[in-house]
Amino acid sequence: MKTDRSKEQKFILILTVFACLLFLTGCWGKKEVEDLAPLLGIGFDVGEKPGTFLITQQFARPKKDSSTGSEIEDRTFSIEASSSREAFEKLSKVTYRTPFMGSLKVIIFSEDVAKAGGFNNMLDFAQRYAEFRRSMYLVLAKGKAQDILNLKLRSGLIPAMAIKSNIEGGDEISIFPTVRLGHYLTILGTKSTAPILPVVESVKSGEDMEYKADAKNEAGEIRIQSAGVMRGDNLADFLTDEETKGYMWLENDVIHRLINTVDLEENSVKFGGQVLESRTKYKVKTNNEKKELQYQIKTSIAIDEILGLKKQLSGPEWVELVKEAEKDFAKVIEKECESSIKKQRELGLDFLGIGRHIEQKNSAYWKTIKDQWEEEIADFSVSIEVKVTIHHSGMSSSSATNLVGEGQD
């Protein structure tokens, strides 16, 4: 009896060791890190043949003469294929490393692909295949995605990494939306809200800025600015910079912002400042028996630039100036928000998520309008209340001025 028991124990022990060997070595899926090609970015353009895409894949490879060992170069391929898997299959024929999708930072859709539709089909691989993470960023490209990924940036960064860094540093200026794959899919699930994606574009010297380019007529810088609004699977339109900024306020996405009142015509003194913090709330209220969504934006700003101030201020004047700045900044914010709301009405697309806000605050009312929401968007009443508080005006109370008569207007 005892021998039987000991035999059985031995048998189970051997089986367990065998099981551990099978489980712990990872022999089936094992890949040495040097055999992997970390994927950093994918770009989608329209292919030449109907129904195909030009899929550009940007991989990282360690720099051979790197002093730190952590520097990377890019290895970028463009392949025409009708699906992502087909593109990877074609790629596998020329590379000896296995693509690793877990490192993917950004997916870029060209303007043409986004307009042509089939956008969600192209995303299916990324949301289904387990190696991908939903934290990757989605962007639209002005022009071709392939051109963006093939840029030789003056900073030396790989374009996919430059886009990632720009997006992650975006909190400093809050002028474009940050859209991760997970967020995009969540917005798609709401049905009433139109998804929005930030726009990336290359910047040549002379386009808004000048710099000493490495090669003539070639862009050496990259910029993320404004956004594109999707209607279902297609790009409906691009937002202007001002409309995108309005979206950011209304969506409570402003963390910090650099803001100025230079474009306000009514005042001679102009202010520049930094948003320290901002909070947007909304409520559904009844106005003359009509429902209305009211946005309440509360923001704190620090003034760090004043233009056109011609004299030294007394204490009370200083306080008055700050109050004037509060009003001016509020006007700028209102203007940005109004332009965004105007665009939403023109497009008939709820990219501001007003329908969801109504549903959140007054679900009973939402049930009565949700079926005809697309028609309601153009007329639905929206009001904005902006309250700006200036925390300080920097290190000085007045600007430096000359004595009267010496160079003063």
Binding site: E8, Q9, I12, L15, T16, F18, A19, L22, F23, G26, W28, G29, G102, A130, R133, R134, S135, E168, G182, H183, L185, T186, L188, G189, T190, K191, E251, N252, R356, H357, E359, Q360, K361, S363, A364, K367
Partner: protein
């Protein structure tokens, strides 16, 4: 606790929508009266499991028929859950590893635990349970930065109906635990003080598991929104992939998966025990060879369902249509008849 935390969010949100998360705790609370009835029967029939008690109360043939059905459903569910280990691992982290590796690995671990006896099994669960709780809390807590604005609202816009509907999806899990409790009571002490401790334990564990699973559903709703929570097969695994600490630590989903594997082993192990008790009570079959035979049956069922979607649908059907109606009727009727017989002096 089993592995409820893996499918629960998709199930309750599927029927209860945005308010589905509120149904988890009430659904689990249904387990309290059932557990108390089982403990009350144990007090009346010390050292007997519910199958033996059924024979004593309903007579031999009804009792044996109930035992036969009990054995069939626990062996079937056990095999399906073994298959699910393969599905989870292959779909999430080890795509090219053959399914048989997971099936064999899983069944060896279960066999080893079964071989060590019920006490070692209990100790193993005692050690692993805190790890599961910590892993769940870490997974939930570290996912907080990914929360989307306003996904929780509106609350109760459809009234209390979603809570009721969601609870119907949670109750089958609770009923599966009752199947195990129905067997293990034969090993539990029946003294007055111990019974009182057991009753307190029931309340405590049901609320603990209910609250944990509520968090699991809530965080998925807050991050994915209702439509995505329903669509994602194993939401918690996707959450594990999203965990990122200071943009430095990422890709820790495999660590979480290791803990989920031990939870699955406990659940399959408990069903394995239930099969052993069923075979013993109904057919008088005991011994090592029968255990190996059960393992072979488990493997056979797992290999029968290598198609992931079929497996997931089948588990749902077994839970909802084979286990829930059976347990929800069997235990109250058994308890009621036994009380009536005692009252009538039969």
């Amino acid at each position: 606790m089993g592995t409820t935390f893996l499918p629960v969010a998709s199930l309750v949100t599927g029927v209860g929508g945005r308010d589905g998360w509120m149904s988890v705790l009430p659904g689990f609370a249904v387990g309290i009266p059932y557990s108390l009835m089982i403990l009350s029967l144990s007090e009346q029939y010390p050292r007997k499991n519910l199958l033996q008690i059924s024979e004593a109360v309903f007579g031999k043939w009804i009792g044996k028929s109930l035992g036969f059905y009990y054995t069939l459903i626990v062996v079937y569910l056990g095999g399906l859950l073994l298959g699910q280990i393969g599905d989870i691992y292959q779909a999430s982290t080890m795509p090219v590893t053959p399914l048989w590796v997971f099936f064999l690995g899983g069944i060896f671990l279960v066999l080893f635990l079964i071989k060590s006896g019920i006490e070692v099994f209990a100790r193993f669960s005692e050690v692993v349970f805190p790890l599961i709780v910590i892993a769940l809390l870490l997974n939930v807590g570290l996912s907080v930065p990914r929360i989307e604005q306003g996904e929780l609202l509106p609350i109760l816009s459809e009234g209390f109906k979603p809570i009721f509907l969601g609870a119907t999806k949670v109750i089958p899990f609770v009923m599966t635990y009752m199947l195990f409790l129905a067997g293990i009571i034969a090993f539990l002490p029946t003294g007055k003080q111990e019974l009182s401790q057991l009753k307190t334990g029931v309340w405590r564990i049901i609320f603990l598991v209910g609250i944990l699973d509520t968090f699991v559903v809530l965080i998925q709703l807050l991050i994915f929104g209702p439509a995505e929570t329903i669509r994602i097969v194993y939401g918690l695994l996707v959450l594990g992939k999203l965990v990122e600490v200071s943009r430095t630590v990422a890709g820790v989903e495999s660590l979480f998966l290791g803990v989920w594997l031990s939870a699955a082993v406990i659940k399959i192990g408990s069903l394995f025990y239930a099969v052993i008790w069923g075979l013993e009570s109904v057919f008088g079959l005991k011994g090592v060879n029968w255990r190996h035979a059960i393992a072979v049956v488990f493997l056979g069922i797992a290999f029968r369902f290598v198609r992931g979607p079929s497996l997931i649908i089948e588990i749902g059907l077994v839970d909802e249509y084979l286990i829930m109606p059976f347990v929800s009727l069997w235990i109250p009727i058994l308890w009621g008849v036994s009380r009536w017989k005692r009252g009538a002096g039969i």
